[in-house]
Symmetry: C2
Subunit: 262 residues, 2 copies
């Protein structure tokens, strides 16, 4: 199974240009599961609700989710990518899972970071896992990584692989995702962006360093802090189906939930 | 507040020699909280229950816990160290918290690793946190690190600092403890041993690399894989009392337990 990420360099608000950039990075490659960053097409640093609304779309009815379906025709596989989801009066920081025909599922970010709280509504949950046949997939977005319960919940619900669109500004996540992979014995794909959103009210720079880890914590792919790129790797998915770390230890069987505070 | 760890090189079964080595490493230093490795006085790789029983002791009534109290007189602070605790018919892989007068609390390892399952009884919990005035202290032992719920439970119960006696044989923990510190905004002190237990039925080598992290993930102290050593560092404990990561984000207030599976 071939998995990968796009690390892109979006320009704030330039949706068509940003989509074109991703299309060019992907080219003709066939990829079973491709992960794009959080809000990869719009940029990240919105002024307010009114501005965000300009870039939000109903799932499957706007340029970003439509593009994802078109891109899936090109790759021949599944794609996960972040977008601003309009639903009723609310806008969510969301990620869509699509194939070449349609949007299959949407995850709405549960843990909102910093200014996101000003204009996004937090996802109502639950963390879901979708069995795609080729893998059981769970999604989380950016700051969700900080909460061990997010990846844990996905793994306990059967995820083999966690797709993790991100727009990281703090330095810790690329390294910490190794722990998320190890402690859950899952594959993780963190797709981050580079560049910066330079607005008149604030500038934010993004750290790149997208990473893919295996269930035993091996770094399978990583990218720099300043390069727009596509990276792919072939994995043996069944590596995530055993939680065994020694002949006598299974990470899930060894849990003692009666002693855990939630 | 001065905290530290001893990374020792015990010889299996040579309790008096091993205690002497620790005493020499500590010397005349004054340390508010000192952490020693798991089973630091006995060695780790027991043949069976009968052999383990030779080295187990009732809390406060054997050479290891008595030594810890004597050592606390020397350092003038609190000490955490691992020992085999005899209680009724059971033996626990335990860690004692002592001051210069007595053993204050014992933590019994909840997640047992590999052969430990053959001869130790798993701790019945709960994970406790003790308010020492100078800090609120939680304990976990070695393989407990692999379970994010262990450190999380201690942090949610108010721990500022997690003392983590260990006998690590796998390579991941020294790096992963950075994530444990970050995700909970606590100090962590992992005290590991070096050397190996060479028995006729198996040989195990230990990785050293003891580490202290701050609540923002800074590596405050670390040691090599092959050197017996004492290391100390001065910390500002209140750094662990705020869980804030941005002006709008507090790691504990941002949790959404209703979405977490346990």
């Amino acid at each position: 199974m071939r998995i990968g990420f796009v690390q892109n360099d979006p320009h704030f608000g330039q949706i068509q240009d940003n989509l074109d950039q991703v299309r060019e990075l992907v080219g003709e490659q066939k990829i079973d599961l491709l992960v794009l960053p959080e809000l990869f097409a719009s940029g990240y640093l919105f002024r307010d609700c009114a501005e965000l609304r300009l870039y939000a779309e109903h799932t499957g009815a706007g340029p970003v989710t439509r593009f994802l379906v078109e891109l899936a025709k090109q790759t021949g596989g599944y794609i996960v990518g972040g977008f601003a989801e309009l639903s009723g009066d609310h806008i969510y920081n969301a990620a869509a899972l699509v194939n070449c025909r349609d949007v299959l599922k949407v995850y709405r970010k549960i843990h909102l970071f910093d200014r996101e709280k000003l204009y996004f509504r937090a996802g109502e949950g639950p963390f879901w896992v979708e069995d795609l046949g080729i893998c059981r997939l769970g999604l989380m977005i950016c700051y969700d990584w900080y909460f061990p319960e997010a990846a844990r919940t996905l793994a306990l619900r059967g995820a083999d692989l966690i797709a993790h669109p991100a727009n990281l500004v703090l330095p810790h996540c690329p390294e910490a995702m190794k722990t998320r992979a190890l402690e859950n014995r899952v594959f993780t794909v963190t797709a981050n962006r580079i560049g910066s959103d330079q607005r008149d009210f604030q500038t934010l720079s993004f750290i790149g360093r997208s990473v893919i880890y295996s269930p035993n914590g091996t770094l399978l792919a990583s990218s720099s802090s300043d390069c727009a790129t596509l990276q792919t790797v072939d994995i043996t998915l069944t590596d995530a189906r055993t939680k065994r770390v020694t002949g006598r230890n299974d990470l899930f069987a060894d849990r003692n939930p009666e002693h855990y505070q939630i």
